[in-house]
Symmetry: D2
Subunit: 349 residues, 4 copies
């Protein structure tokens, strides 16, 4: 931590800052520049220290030097975190593709979609049972019944299952049904929920909040990890900007930045980021080219009949085409796309 004093700070003010820091058992080092004094803290900064010093008279700015997260940070030795689900190892050299509808609507719909996802080579089935909707009058998901249908479709195809959980009290129930728990963008700062999924043994896909910086995202991952669950998958899904041509602005630069700062896998959700199915293919390919560990794509057998997010869902045919294109770009950047399931892999060999 570094403290920059104002130009006109008095020696007494500088001394007060030093005393305040030393009172907590830490060392200080003062550099007197031409205009300003700068005080460095020696030792490990305790929580809240920055705020406590920032209010002292004569202080202009306090700058953290260390990252505020530990478990989520890429270490010096630093291998990547690998998370094995079904036939894919997320975070390895393999590209994982997650596909499925925004919401489960019926047995027929989820079964047809799961089979289409698998047939095209998708590795993980997604689908919403509890849905966060901005309007209380919109379809809120099928709830517990939806979980049953999802599990049945996952079992029938052999694909692992991911679904969103929205409240701490429902985490145990949802964790029973799924292979990966999803935290949605609107809940990235729902700390009781982060702690609740941190207490499970299921991998967690954590979506970046619409207004969250990359550091905010890593701090939310830290919440889950500090609770004991180290299997966190980060997901960029678009941030809110002034541009209205797309629903959000997909921040693909986040991929190399996250890879540099953290050892956790990074997945891209082009469907929610753009809100338009026409953009799902180019943004999926861009994500893989930029180094993402996978993509999550909304697939619906009849987008025009979908109860939610139809405009951003691709048909099974288009999903098949996207998978083929992903394989080519993955190969071009030295990544592999494994078969959907171990059986399909065996059959292919």
């Amino acid at each position: 931590m570094i403290v920059i004093m104002r130009t006109n700070a008095t020696p007494e003010q500088i001394s007060t800052v030093c005393t305040r820091i030393e009172d907590e058992g830490l060392g200080t080092s003062v550099s007197q520049g031409v205009n300003k004094a700068v005080i460095g803290l020696i030792g490990k900064r305790p929580p809240g220290m920055m705020e406590r010093v920032e209010v002292l008279p004569g202080v202009e700015m306090v700058i953290p030097v260390d990252k505020p997260y530990k478990f989520a940070a890429r270490g010096s030795g630093g291998g990547d975190t690998h998370i094995r689900v079904g036939n894919v190892t997320i975070g390895s050299n393999e590209i994982a593709v997650i596909g499925g509808p925004c919401s489960v609507e019926s047995e027929a719909q989820i079964t047809a979609t799961a089979e289409a996802v698998k047939a095209a080579g998708g590795h993980i089935l997604r689908g919403g049972a509890f849905k966060p909707r901005t309007s209380p009058y919109s379809f809120q998901g099928m709830g517990g019944e939806g979980l049953e249908l999802l599990r049945t479709a996952a079992n029938a195809t052999g694909l692992p299952l991911i679904t969103e959980v929205m409240e701490p009290g429902r985490v145990p129930l949802v964790a029973e049904y799924v292979d990966i728990l999803q935290i949605g963008t609107r809940n990235m700062h729902n700390f009781p929920l982060l702690q609740a999924v941190g207490n499970t043994d299921k991998p967690v896909l954590l979506k970046r909040g619409m207004a969250a910086t990359i550091e905010d995202l890593l701090m939310s991952a830290e919440y889950i990890m500090a609770a004991g669950n180290m299997r966190v998958i980060l997901c960029e899904r678009g941030i809110r900007t002034f541009e209205t041509a797309t629903r959000n602005t997909l921040d693909l630069s986040a991929i190399p930045i996250l890879k540099e700062q953290s050892h956790l896998p990074v997945i891209i959700d082009p469907s929610h980021a753009t809100g338009m199915w026409e953009l799902v293919k180019p943004m999926s390919l861009a994500a893989v080219a930029a180094g993402a560990d996978g993509v999550m794509i909304e697939v619906h057998p009849n987008p025009e009949l979908a109860l939610s997010d139809g405009p951003q869902s691709v048909t099974p045919d288009r999903f098949f085409d996207i998978m083929a294109a992903i394989r080519k770009v993955a190969a071009a950047v030295g990544r592999e796309v494994p078969a959907a399931t171990a059986e399909m892999e065996a059959a292919a060999t």
Copy 2:
């Protein structure tokens, strides 16, 4: 709802859109322009209809005409919602001032602050017991014990109490202790929590999310109201923008916009918006001049010792000065600032 077709849309595509709408029991009206056809929906648009039409071939854009909220909308007859707590009527011609620390830290701290708030003329005591902190390693609040201390300080001063609740499961407990429940900015889209506070009979102060539009805020108010609780207070507390000189950008234009679109009271939080105590006074005065129904200000007896948010907290002396200035500006725009409590009012007359 209006559907704008693409320039090259075929008559068949136009006809398909009309049929899709009419299948749900509604009427349509087609205007053929020079380049494009426009289809209007006649009747009350059902939820999800826009998305279902947006995916049809030949459709360029679907535009809603009616607001998606009902209870929160300013009606044609339209008086303002008045919420009486303690000695102030929020949403009336009176200006309400809420003051107190970010977090309760000790009995001495909250008692001293409550008395200072009351002495200066503040109407409502605020204080956090359960704190949403971006770092799992920061002080998380005193929890249940904090609630007890808050209630004691509120009772001792006769001020009503507001505190934040962060999870649905804790709503009944917190509601027992407080006069107003607060939903924080990070939970504006926590729908299970909105429903839970909607099921209580306590007024709810709902903070705008950092990346929430004004319409998003009103939709979240609608969640609470649709659950049966009509006493919602809207709170603008800064939105996230590219500017880094302040923590957030306080959007004071939201005041007249919210007043035009809704009958609900509007409160401004200049402390969290700016993150700097020096800006609390000018932004409080600006809020009152722009038509706000009140302000919420962080007050701490020793900001440099605060366990959270010290840099944005004002001392009791400064709070006293701000209250005096608020009274002058309120008078200049024809608003009143009542006494802190009925006893003080009686004593003054």
Copy 3:
């Protein structure tokens, strides 16, 4: 300037950074923390030094300690800059009100508006002759003829005149006609234009760019001042954010921040910030309450016939009402609103 080294930086890398800085004749001071070394520069940082050090191996971050502007910065002795035009001293305890149409459209229009502005107590006449329009097909202003009409109306009323100049080549012409030169939001980073107005002896009202930080704005002021023209007036007119309810988001926190960092006057333009005439009054009052030195308001005798910006223009009647309200709020915060002209002042006494 402070250099923060990466956790794993080698002693050689630290030494290279020091040598690089010392080669330019400056001193260094190294603090070795628990995880990271921090190098401070001793002496006056030359331009480009930060970038030259940032690229060296092992460097994590370079942080400036001094502000990059000099003339625009509030000095230690620091009085405010006062700019006298007509009967008002901008930057003093007086509130200046600038009023007039977006564009000059005809002699009748500009004459009627100028008289209405003066009658209501406005101090300065505004009006556009050269207009920056986002569409090449929109009305581009009356050009030189517009300048003539503006000057005539200004002379007839005795009000000083402000108008926008858009290209360096036209600065001499426009400067002949006006009392204050205006740089529009789209030209805040038009450096040749800033230099050109810096070479005149007319005060310059500099509008903040839509995506400009407060520091960017002060750097653009610095361009004008470095060219020799110290009479710069800063103008906040809304920044671009995700919110679509208003055209831009008016950042009133910029007022106290600019006042703290600079000695230059600060004016608010609520008309362009919001794009809605209904918001001009509340935002004008908020601006004055927050400490602005004045406001700039679009006034048009017939907004529904305006060739540009009709929706954000107020009628003369509404302008009269706004002036009355501004006087009350100004008085509440200890500011004065002088008479429109010296003659009116004399007549009133």
Copy 4:
């Protein structure tokens, strides 16, 4: 154009709107919905009509139906615009790579860079002679001498040359030296400059403004095209958002959106978008995968000695590596990367 009336609009107000439109020789069509009336305009909307109607009493909103640009819009027949420079056709199936330093600093520097760009397979040489710098104290470029050095290096290598022009008065001079004129991000709304380059016969690379929407960018292209110059290349270079981990947020979704709405070529500038050389490779590959027609990359023989933008410049070795990776990804998406020059192409065959 569609006019949505307020819920309580009177028949007189509806009638006034219709009359206002019909007075300009256009037709109207009124649809009376359950809550609101909607008026459609029949015929070609004249400039300014939206604003003139928006101010009428009872009007809630006016929505444009047609795009405000013509020349820039993808037509119904719609081939893509191809721009041939040197050995590459920008906008065709070929990927164009532009490389070179931020600023020309010396003959040795620009010659070495030009040769490195060519050797790696880059098609076009970039370099700044007149530099827009946010600080008046930073290096402002070598000016006319820089143009000479650039032209010499371009001639020596046989690469076409692109450089930025910053003011209308300098367009004729710069146009003499270059093969493509560049308009920088800070000048996207410098309308006199757009008109000046529109009057030349050189292709223009137009960078998106930091706060410009995709529609704004196309409107600025329209300015150039309306002046007669149809050879415009659009360039996405990052937009300003709340994220601070990168200098700007690169909006790659803009590629497919621009391709859908316009026939103009789209180039990506990952160097300025991110501000970090480490991100140039992944973002270049992502751009090609997403469908860009090319990339523009800052290359410097000694980034740590660069007078500007060192941190975002890649060395010749890294540029060589990026070119190799671009070739692979281009092939994966069915695009070609031609040889740097016709001679190299002939030599390779």
